[in-house]
Amino acid sequence: MVLSGSDRRTAGGTGGEASSLRGELARLDILVAVPGDESGIFLIRELQRTRATVRHLWPLPETLPESADVIFSDLTDGLSARLAWVPGCAKSALVGILPAQFEGDLDLLRTLAVDAVLHRPFTARAVLTSLVMAWTRFGYERRLRQRIAKLDETLRSVRIVERAKAILITGRKLSEDDAYRFMQRQAMDRRVPIAAIATAIIDSQRMLG
């Protein structure tokens, strides 16, 4: 069953609105993986009030789709195997649902790396707060991960360029400056990053032994 906010707003809206949380929530694609009973319907209705696209998915599939922005699911031992990612590589924000009397292992919160917790029975306020907490924390974490990935890539590139430079200096008897100039000219002519040229130099050196 696919439920969608009836008048879901497009990315537009007013300057103030679009920058606000309300506008951001309206663009979300939310997956609700709970039984379609009375409480399940309540949860879906409350989420729809944000004008987000809300998809209901039940029974739980083998693997939960990774296309959603936020997933609401009961925290069970089996959930871990149904997520399409390992902890630390989440594709969606995860709101873990717990029963009022939770007797299980609290370590599930850690191992499933949930971004927010929602307790049964649901209240309108709690549904919204868990959504906001999960989505904003997840977004920040994703931006930081992106920044770190870029730094890692940059450090790798620096190392590769240094190695290629050394090959050019010894193999082609170029000066340090000329080695750099050579790689940069190649990169400019081919319109590729200098690290790609450096990698090619290292690879061809390896092949020639």
């Binding site: 007013t14 920058s19 309300r22 620096v158």
Partner: protein, 383 residues
Amino acid sequence: MARTSDRRDDAWRVGVLFSHSGFMAIIEETQLRGTLLAIDEINAAGGVNGRELVPVIYDPGSEPVVFGQLAKRLMVDDAISTIFGCYTSSSRKAVIPVVERLNGLLWYPTLYEGFEFSPNVIYTGAAPNQNSVVLSRYLMENFGPRIFFVGSDYIYPRESNRIMAELVRRQGGDVVGEVYVPLRAQRSDFRSAMRLIKAARPDAIFSTVVGDGTVYLYQSYFDAGFDSANMPIASLTTTEAEIRAMGFDVGKGHITAASYFQNIGGSCNERFVSRYQKRYGADEPTNACVEAAYFQVHVFAKALESTNSMATDVLRTMVLGTEYEAPQGAISINETSNHADLWTRIGRVNRCGQFDVVLQSQDVVPADPYMVGAGWGLAAGLT
């Protein structure tokens, strides 16, 4: 949930953070003007998709801490996600945690020391590979290998000098002195610097002094009887605005590396200069920081026209890769680094307080903020 309380629901609201007061006002006010000129132009042409662009302007008073607080105020109280602002690296570093945590977009129109990438910043000023690399070589080839460093005591000069020292030494040159003055330097703070320069007898001076201190440095140099024809001060930050403040006779013969000078010609630039002077006065020069502050608003508006949304994630995707005909020439926003691909130029101050271009790149120089390619090969692209 945030509510839209603004009565002008129909407008696109953007934040503007440049100092109108304090020791950085001399240059930041020009960036404010460049920003407002672009906003006026866009509104005069009917706004963006029929909606007006409305700036919400605060004065951080040259205090980095206040920059951070006002960024928070813009994003939290005013519900604004796009901010144009910052000159000093200290102020940028105060704003970045806020825009990263709350997912805003800071447009930073100032050259800086590089070695940074934030997904929440669009950098439209030059990185070191777009100015320092060429400047170091120009100084050594034309004046000699012995360079003296003088800077303000904060992040940008120390980091910039680290890069410059590496560039100078690798070309066989020597850093014959390095001295820092307080960020809010007075005239008297430069006396000992002048004595050190006299004793070291360098071939050129590389200055990373910013703000009011710039004027005192060049005036102290002039008063000490040094000759800019033989031992010029070279800088990345001394623009037409500072030259005007120090006096044309004081500035004459000194050197700056920048992406833009008022004097570069071109019809796009001439239109920009005439509109700027029409609005702010015929004797008000433009400069590289005004130009970046100006063109970045246009790049933003161009992207906004396509997205029709100010949401950061939507807007950033559209901004990356955007090309724009700026007063300095055609520029683009580099998709891999969030930095602008810009022109490299070296200018020398003439007796009218303008820069004569003595060297310029044949095309834009791709931004390489981490100096991965070490930026050495620029020789190929220079005329």
